[in-house]
């Protein structure tokens, strides 16, 4: 059954895990957001520098202390979200949520790496690891749009995936 293990740790995931994108800290940023998964101990912090004219996410820094899945998921996020508009970023995050919930969704080629997250669905307890980066991003964007200055802080309570 190491098939399903290989499904979880696909090459793309392992690649992102070993050399995560978005490691470079930012000098200036407009959005800052921390995520925390108390039951696992996964911790993520994220900063985004906005291109205010074009309203796009110009630069992103993701720092993840966690497992391969949460690290890879954060790295995929950093790669895919860069240069996107706020709306596009939010749509991608929603797509990831759907993928992880097990909904049948088409992943456009341009977001190909997201496909690798599908393997996580066979591992219900790992779903929140994959989600963490994305809910952290969503909270950060929310704060930014609401004009709030403070840092967004997300804590996924345990066992979220067991709730309907």
């Amino acid at each position: 059954m190491s098939n399903s293990l290989d499904d979880l740790y696909r090459e793309i995931i392992l690649d992102h895990y070993r050399s995560p994108r978005g490691k470079q800290p930012l000098e200036h940023f407009d959005i800052s957001s921390d995520g925390h998964n108390p039951s696992c101990g996964d911790e993520i912090s994220m900063e985004v520098e906005m291109d205010k004219e074009r309203a796009t996410l110009k630069n992103i820094h993701v720092d993840c202390k966690g497992c391969a899945i949460s690290t890879a998921s954060g790295s995929i996020l950093a790669e895919l979200i860069k240069g996107k508009t706020l709306d596009e970023a939010r749509q991608i995050a929603e797509l990831v949520k759907k993928i992880l919930k097990g909904e049948e969704v088409e992943v456009p080629d341009s977001l190909g790496d997201l496909d690798a997250l599908k393997g996580v669905r066979q591992f219900p307890v790992r779903i929140k690891c994959a989600l963490l980066a994305w809910v952290t991003l969503i909270e950060g964007l929310k704060n930014y749009e609401n004009g709030k200055d403070e840092k967004a802080v997300v804590s996924t309570e345990d066992d979220d995936e067991k709730k309907k």
Binding site: P38, V125, E157, D158, D159, K162, K164
Partner: protein, 425 residues
């Protein structure tokens, strides 16, 4: 509508054949046992029910194939165990009328469910001068926690009296449930008299006063369809062991907003969000109320009990018990010296039949019946205040369930007749 009145009144002439009792009996291994040389006739169902093979096997299978501690575990057994445990929660939520899974908290039993509410909601919401309404027919489990809380908080216990027929006397209800009322705690079905109480009516009265209502479903949930949304109760509590499930599992249903607003009960693993030496946060409902390793195997096996009940159908179970109760009351009433306690109108009562003998103490009745293989209960049935009200020291109680039939009632009847002869009455 009073619970029960929806169903047409059963008559003795209707044959007890809507489901196959012999097949059902065969599902319960213990019913093949001999007790004191006689085949067991088990009529102590209000105390605890027997368990069908599917429930016993579910425990067995769990320990043979799945056993692991739930939540947090990343290995396959832990995942399987967690899934099985949570599946029971989903089923329980459906069983009582389709509430949300998160509104179902697993406890040890009805008693713990009620105490949980008293220690959490009660502790925060009952203040000096507040009133808690109970009935004269409460089991100690739905009286003593409120008595103790009221004493501590200088609150007042008010009680709804009962009529000579064993129904709640609602004449003065608008005084008893009044603007000072904070909680109405009422049994859905009496474990002594069998009375089915008008919970829905009382819920309306309570809510009109902005009070909450908790219904003790320990005797109702096993024996009739229950829809907590239709009843419009805030809390509903019952025990697995009285409804074919294992011992050590109870249910607390609570409305989401209430559960969310309540502080936790037992503190420890599984119920926390984050813990440091200086700060502790709680998990979401229902886990907030399930601190520590729960009774995993038995919760998992309780699922099999619910499925078994569903398969037979709670409507059918209720109908069967109505018919059998009518048959039993009619038959036992014929015995000279035997007096039936509680309502005689079948649609408003369940199958817990208390009776007394004008010459014999219930303990002697029970000991005699036991020598004939018949298990009934004798005593105050954890309802000492009710005993005082009905003027009895104790009663004998035969209580019916799905596996009982006319033959069981006949055996009881014959033994009671023989008993009076034995004691020279």
């Amino acid at each position: 509508m009073r619970p029960g009145t929806a169903k047409s009144k059963a008559t003795v002439s209707t044959p007890l054949s809507r489901f196959d009792i012999q097949k059902i009996k065969a599902d319960f291994p213990i019913l093949n046992e001999k007790v004191n040389g006689n085949r067991l006739v088990y009529l102590d169902n209000a105390a605890t029910s027997q368990k069908p093979r599917v429930v016993i096997n579910a425990i067995l299978e769990y320990y043979r194939k799945t056993n692991a501690n739930i939540h947090r575990g990343l290995h396959k057994l832990a995942e399987d165990a967690t899934r099985a445990y949570e599946a029971t929660r989903t089923h329980t939520a459906a069983f009582i009328g389709g509430v949300e899974s998160e509104e179902i908290v697993f406890t040890r039993g009805t008693t713990e469910s009620i105490n949980l509410v008293a220690y959490t909601w009660g502790e925060e919401n009952i203040h000096e001068g507040d009133e808690i309404v109970i009935t004269e027919m409460e089991h100690h489990a739905n009286f003593v926690p409120w008595y103790v809380l009221a004493k501590k908080k200088k609150a007042v216990i008010r009680r709804i009296p009962i009529t000579v027929c064993g129904h709640l006397d609602l004449n003065d209800i608008d005084n008893i449930i009044n603007p000072r009322t904070k909680l109405v705690a009422v049994t859905h079905m009496s474990n002594v008299l069998g009375t089915i109480n008008p919970v829905k009516e009382l819920a309306a009265k309570a809510h009109a006063r902005k009070a909450l209502i908790l219904a003790d479903g320990a005797q109702a949930a096993p024996h009739m369809p229950v829809n907590v949304k239709d009843l419009d109760v805030d809390f509903y509590v019952f025990s697995s062991h009285k409804m074919l499930g294992p011992t050590g599992v109870g249910v607390l249903y609570g409305r989401r907003e209430l559960l969310e607003s309540m502080p936790p009960f037992n503190f420890g693993g599984e119920m926390i969000g984050e813990v440091s030496f200086d700060r502790v946060t709680w998990a979401d409902i229902p886990h907030k109320f399930e601190g520590g390793t729960p009774n995993i195997a038995d919760v998992v096996a309780y699922h099999a009990a619910l499925s078994y009940l569903d398969e037979i159908g709670m409507d059918n179970i209720r109908r069967h018990e109505m018919e059998l109760t009518e048959y039993a009351i009619e038959k036992l009433s014929r015995i000279e010296g035997i007096e039936i306690q509680g309502p005689q109108d079948i649609p408003n009562r369940g199958g817990a039949i208390s009776f007394t003998d004008k010459d014999l103490h219930p303990h002697d009745i029970s000991t005699f019946l036991d020598s004939r293989g018949i298990a009934i209960r004798a005593g105050h049935h954890c309802a000492q205040p009710l005993m005082r009200v009905i003027g009895k020291i104790a009663t004998a109680r035969a209580s019916l369930y799905i596996y009982n039939d006319e033959a069981d009632v006949d055996t009881l009847y014959n033994a009671l007749v023989e008993m009076r002869r034995y004691f020279g009455l």
